[in-house]
Symmetry: C2
């Protein structure tokens, strides 16, 4: 926290007040206002004099007085600091902030659309790091040595161009690598020019929403579904149409019945979030036909299709689309790690310009450095190797989790979606208050998501989404027993809320 940044002090050499007095006053005011804090390092008299373009004598005089009066603390052989004995109440409460706290927030926000923010639900169970965390990968299994080597190599190679703004669509090298991967592994029809590198699926959805939907536009949202994705459309002022999901994926007929003229549908065909079902071929065709007939758009969120345990990955919906109605969304969060913040969009060719300009107005361009590292990581085969290793590991964790749940909960629950991905859903035949259980579980470092939080309207099922990506096999049985205990302690409740 120490810093020898020169404070903002302006000196008027021709002023009536002597220079040493101006310096003294400025420091005193900066300390009283809290701009300089107790313990903070003060620049040396020499540096200060050089930076202000004044002689060193008045600086020495001012500093001496500040020390004498207890504002500064001078220590032999060390930098001068703002006195640590200074009472905090004088130095942290800036007047502006005191006044603000008197107002209630709502009295100041004047945009109508901030009211939409209030509709977003809190989600304390999404942030913790521990057993059952959803979207958490086996962090301790990441090939950190390989990664470090690639990072070091790329850092050494940094040059003038790598410091400058990168390509707005993302680095061409990574886009080629991604296009190649998607064509082969996901049957996505694409050229590198259609790939846009973004900061993750959330940004991908946010950009797509801005290009293709207006406020008041309707969009089909899977029910239950991925709530962070839905939040984008809530904030955009769109009309969210919940469409129920069954074992074949989103119920397209029901969607058409509820809102035939919807502008778009946000779907997870490979591995429905959260229930884990794969959209059937018939439903895929029905969805594509609806989109084509009504000029609607399909946002295909293919967030973790790399991990399937019972069968091979199934081709993307985008690859079946002959009319460019699908926006394909992928992420590196699940196969590498989330703090990387890298994902990608595959954009129909005629929409590239709209996406590009919209993205430019949101954040100009993605950061370049990690794009190059990821590109190397894939090109050198580490990506594929890592996916294969993780598939084996997650399969084992998945089986253990299924066994533990069956053992502890038996006939009281159903397990869905364990054929793929890094989470499964356990739902209770007699409904429970999954939110309060999830809240209490968080206090014991179990980060289950309550299933009811994935519904926009009345939940049909209660239960939990359990991530097993970051939960060590040895921890699974204990974690399931703890969960059982918490469920037993919870009061049951009717399904309707």
């Amino acid at each position: 926290m120490a810093s020898s940044v020169v404070p903002v002090i302006s000196i008027d050499r021709n002023g009536a007040k002597p220079v040493h007095r101006q310096i003294y006053d400025s420091y005193r005011e900066a300390i009283m206002q809290g701009n300089l804090r107790p313990g903070q390092k003060i620049p040396s008299t020499r540096l200060f004099a050089v930076e202000l373009g004044v002689s060193r004598y008045p600086v020495i005089e001012a500093y001496a007085q500040l020390v004498a009066e207890g504002y500064f603390e001078s220590r032999v052989g060390a930098a001068t600091i703002v006195s640590q004995d200074f009472p905090d109440r004088f130095t942290t409460a800036a007047p502006a902030l005191v006044k603000e706290s008197l107002n209630s927030p709502s009295s100041r926000v004047s945009a109508r659309r901030t009211a939409l923010v209030g509709q977003l639900r809190a989600s304390q169970w999404t942030r913790g790091l521990g057993a059952f965390g959803v979207g958490q990968v086996a962090y301790d299994q990441f090939p950190l040595q390989v990664w470090s080597r690639l990072v070091a190599r790329r850092t050494r190679k940094m040059n003038v161009r790598s410091f400058h703004y990168g390509e707005q669509m993302g680095s061409i090298m990574l886009r080629q690598t991604v296009a190649n991967y998607l064509r082969t592994a996901r049957s996505v029809h694409c050229e590198p020019e259609q790939i846009m590198i973004v900061s993750g699926s959330q940004q991908a959805i946010a950009i797509t929403a801005r290009v293709l939907l207006d406020p008041e536009s309707s969009i089909w949202i899977e029910e239950p579904g991925y709530r962070f994705g839905a939040d984008v459309f809530t904030l955009a002022g769109c009309n969210l149409v919940p469409v129920p999901v069954d074992k074949e994926g989103i119920n397209v007929s029901e969607g058409i019945r509820r809102d035939r003229m919807a502008r778009a549908a946000l779907v997870t065909p490979s591995h429905q979030f959260p229930l884990g079902f794969t959209m059937s071929a018939a439903r895929r065709l029905q969805l594509l036909t609806w989109a084509q007939d009504h000029g609607a758009w399909i946002l295909e969120d293919d967030y973790d299709s790399e991990y399937r345990y019972e069968s091979l990955p199934i081709p993307s919906l985008q690859g079946m689309d002959a009319h460019g109605r699908v926006i394909y969304i992928g992420t590196f969060s699940k196969v590498l790690f989330p703090s990387l913040r890298l994902g990608y969009l595959v954009i129909p060719k005629d929409l590239i310009e709209f996406f590009l300009k919209t993205r430019h107005a949101m954040d100009l361009a993605p950061p370049t450095f990690y794009q190059d590292v990821v590109s190397d990581f894939i090109a050198e085969g580490h990506f594929e190797r890592h996916i294969r290793r993780m598939r084996l590991l997650y399969r084992e964790r998945r089986s253990l989790l299924v066994d533990s749940i069956s053992e502890e909960f038996g006939e009281a629950v159903e397990i869905d979606g364990s054929e793929a991905g890094m989470h499964l859903v356990v739902s209770f035949k007699t409904s429970i208050d999954d939110r309060s259980v999830a809240e209490r579980a968080g206090q014991q470092n179990l980060w289950v998501w309550p299933l009811t939080a994935s519904y926009l309207k009345t939940p049909e099922k209660t239960g939990f989404i359990l991530g097993f990506g970051s939960t060590a096999s040895s921890d699974i049985p204990v974690a399931v027993r703890t969960l059982k205990k918490l469920v037993k302690e919870a009061p049951s409740r009717p399904i309707a809320i």
Copy 2:
């Protein structure tokens, strides 16, 4: 580009078709559809058999046939690849893409607001790397060795937590460092909890726009001003009110005359972009009073206040604000480098929740890695040292540029804004067609920005914004002579457009 990713191929062991035939057909189709491309590596028969869970014999049989028919190329001692002789036209034109190209783009985009994208102007002069590039820093002077060391150290220290999603507001360490720096060096009133780390000033403006403005809301935009910032509000459907700038900064009285009830103002008080003026104390008070009286918001974009040559940095507008009406925006693009994509917002305390939730719906959280590196870079004093070194360097480049311009253009031009920052403005007493000069300059690797492109309405001046951050001193005189030549060749034109 080579990859041994296993293609999406599904095998029906109980199907009527023999397994080797299913494999053959799948590969053939993937090649014909362009999902596998000439030269692309094919997984070994062993790996393929393991991944599909089939015996190796049918795989060998299918591969042999594909080689025999010329789809695959088998090379002794190397991986099998898709035949390189395969005519490209069979493998790159997926049917979906052919069909699309028949439609005109506008026939497919159905959102009203994509029409707003068309209002954004092209800007080919912003992307090049070369003399006079605006916003370009002295990339070759960046302390890369120190940086590499910090990067390597942070990479070694990566652990489970660093792979997980980071804090939504940004890492607390960096936010403390930034708060400390802003209080001292910019007189910003802030606590770490008010700092939000974003991907740069563009994202800062975009988040603020979404929280505080509605479509149709009016916002004052400096005329001339920062057009990428203005683009955010154009895309948001806001009503942009150009307010003229003079030597004291934005003309607040004129703003009030044009739109007293505007919801916000986007300003650059420390160093007006592009003209370079510093907003006077009187104007600052007038602006703050207007905001307080009308419940309006001030977006203070403090993009390069670190570099002043004639005087010390002047305090931020935010520090003068007693009513929490200012959103302060800063960036590391100008003092570190742009491809980092790191900047920050200082948010009035009662608005933090709105900003946080809005940001979450845009991209969840910032990437963590470089936040830690920057935090180390500042804490260890490299940041301050780098700024001091660059200030000397830019001062020298600035003086040389001013001298060269005076020598070549003499009385024909005026130079503004050379007291600070990394660019200055040269405007012509007799108006010129600055856009066409800028376009032709780009062909000679001179990346001047035409001044007229910074105006929303009728430009008052014509000329250029010349960046000198990345232009080596020795290149300046030649570059100015080239620019003079281009100006001489250009037809003059009346100011009105």
